[in-house]
Amino acid sequence: MKSDIDRIYLIDRFLKGELSGLTLDEFKSRMRTNSEFALEVESQRAIIEGIKLARKQHLISILNGEKAPGIIAHVEQSFENTEKTIEQVIPNFKEKEQIETKEYKLKPNFNDWYLSVAAVLLAGLLLYFVFGYYIPHQKLEMANIDSTTTAKPEENLATTPESKPDVAVNPSLKDTSKTENDSLEKPLLAQGGDSMKVENDKKLFQTMYSVAAFETITPEGSDNNSNVSIGGTGNDLKVNNLRKVKGSTVKVEYWQSVVGFKGYKLSNTKLQLFDMKPEEKVSLKYLDKQLYLKKNGSYYKLNASGNFESYQKENNIELIKSLESN
C-alpha cells in the first residue's frame, strides 16, 4: 500500500508539472516502456479532470446561489464565524440589482411572521374602531345635534293670524323656539352607541301667553259681590262674584307626539300641549290659581304637576259658569 500511495503521489506530481530533472526523465522513460504504467497515468489524469470539473461545478453552483449537496453545510461548520449563508448572499447573477438592493436598502423583514400577523391584526382593530364605531358614532351625534337645532316650528303656523290661539288677554306672540332647549327634543339614544335612530316628539309651535287670573270673592268683607266694581289698581278688579287678580305669563308649546300621546304637561310657567294644533282656538284662564284650558267650548283643568297628564274635561257646571262669566 505504501508503494501504491507513493506511486499515485508521484503521478500527481507529474501531472501537476512538479517533476523535473532526473526524476522526470525516469518517469517518462517508465511510461514509454511500461504500458500498464502509462495507462495508469492516463487514468489518473482523467479522474483528476473529473474531480476538477466536479469542484468547478460546485463553485459555480455557489455563485449561482445553488446549494451543492453536502459541501456547503460542512463549510459552514468549518467557518463558524461566518454570519450569512451563501444562499442569502448570492442569488442568481441576473438578479444583480436585487443584490444591491438587499445591501443598501432597508426592506421589511418578514421572517418574523408573527410580528407581521400582529401588525395586521392591530391595523384591523384600528380600522374597525375608526370606521365601525367612532365615525358612525360621530355621525349619529351630529345628526342628533342637527335635529335639535333645526327643529323649527312650522312657519305658516307661527305667522298666520289664523293660527294664533285664542287667548284671553293679548298674547304676546314671541317665537322663542330657536333659543329654547327642551329635554323632549333630545333623542332617545339606544345604549351602547349603536346607530339606531329614534324618532322624537316634534314641537310645532310655541308662544307666550299672558293669562288672566280670577279669584272667587269670599262673602266676608263684602255683603254683595254681584256687581262688578271696576277701578282701583286693577289687581283687585271685581267681576260679579269674582275679581280679577294679577295674571301671569305662560309659555305654551304645541307638540306632536310620535306615540300619539294626547294630553299635556304643565310646570310653573310652561305648558306643553299634545295632540292640539296651534290653529285650534284655545284659551287659558286662571281661576283660584287653577289653570283652565278652553277648547271648542269645553274647559279642561290643567294640573301643574310637572308630569304628562291627559286632558280632563271639567264638568262642574258652577265652575264652568264662573269661567264663562268673564
Partner: protein
C-alpha cells in the same frame, strides 16, 4: 474577521487559501459591477457576462489557492485583469470577432487538449457520489491545490501523512467505481 465580512484583500486571499468558499462570494460581490459593465460595454450580453464572471472567479480561486501565490496589486485589479482576458478569449471564439487577433488565433490549436480515458462529466458525477470527506479532500487537493498540511488543518486530520493516506483511499474508491462503470474496454 468573518463576523464583519472580509474587509481587506489579505483577508480574502487567506480565506481562499483555506478553502473558504464564502470568500468566493465576497469576490463576486466586490467585482460584479465592474466586470458586468466591462462585458456589456464590449459587445457582450448579460449571459456572457455571467460566464465571464464565473470563469474569472474560478481562475482566481485556483490561482490564489496556490501556495506560491503572492498578491502584488489590489485584488480587484487582479480579478479584473483576469476577467478581461477571459472575455477576450470568448470574443475570439465568437465568429463575428474571429479576425480580431490573427496572431493569437493561430496559437490556439484544437489538438492541445489531451484525450482523456474517461468522460469527464461521468467522472464528476462519481465524484459527487463520494462521501463528503473524500469529495472535499480530493477537491481541495486536485482543484484548490491546497497542501497536505492545510487540508489536515481544514478537515481536522492529525497530520499530513494521515491526509495522504486518506487521499489514497478516496482516490482508489473513486477509481474503482469509475472502472466498474466503464469497464476496461470502454476506455475512450
Amino acid at each position: 474577521m468573518f463576523g464583519i465580512g472580509f474587509n481587506s484583500d489579505n483577508d480574502i486571499v487567506n480565506e481562499i487559501k483555506r478553502g473558504n468558499e464564502k470568500a468566493l462570494v465576497t469576490l463576486y460581490k466586490q467585482n460584479l459591477n465592474a466586470i458586468k459593465k466591462f462585458v456589456l460595454n464590449n459587445s457582450g450580453t448579460i449571459d456572457e457576462a455571467q460566464d465571464v464572471m464565473q470563469e474569472t472567479l474560478i481562475a482566481v480561486w485556483q490561482n490564489v489557492a496556490k501556495p506560491e501565490f503572492l498578491l502584488n496589486v489590489k485584488l480587484s485589479t487582479y480579478v479584473f485583469s483576469i476577467a478581461k482576458n477571459q472575455w477576450y478569449k470568448q470574443l475570439k471564439k465568437k465568429t463575428r470577432f474571429k479576425v480580431v487577433d490573427v496572431a493569437m488565433t493561430e496559437n490556439i490549436r484544437a489538438d492541445e487538449a489531451p484525450m482523456l480515458m474517461y468522460d469527464t462529466k461521468i467522472v464528476s458525477d462519481y465524484v459527487n457520489k463520494l462521501d463528503e470527506t473524500c469529495r472535499r479532500l480530493l477537491m481541495y487537493f486536485y482543484f484548490d491545490g491546497l497542501d497536505m498540511n492545510t487540508i489536515a488543518e481544514q478537515m481536522g486530520f492529525a497530520n499530513s501523512d494521515t491526509v495522504k493516506s486518506k487521499k489514497y483511499q478516496c482516490f482508489k474508491k473513486l477509481e474503482t467505481s469509475i472502472k466498474e462503470h466503464f469497464g476496461k474496454d470502454d476506455f475512450i
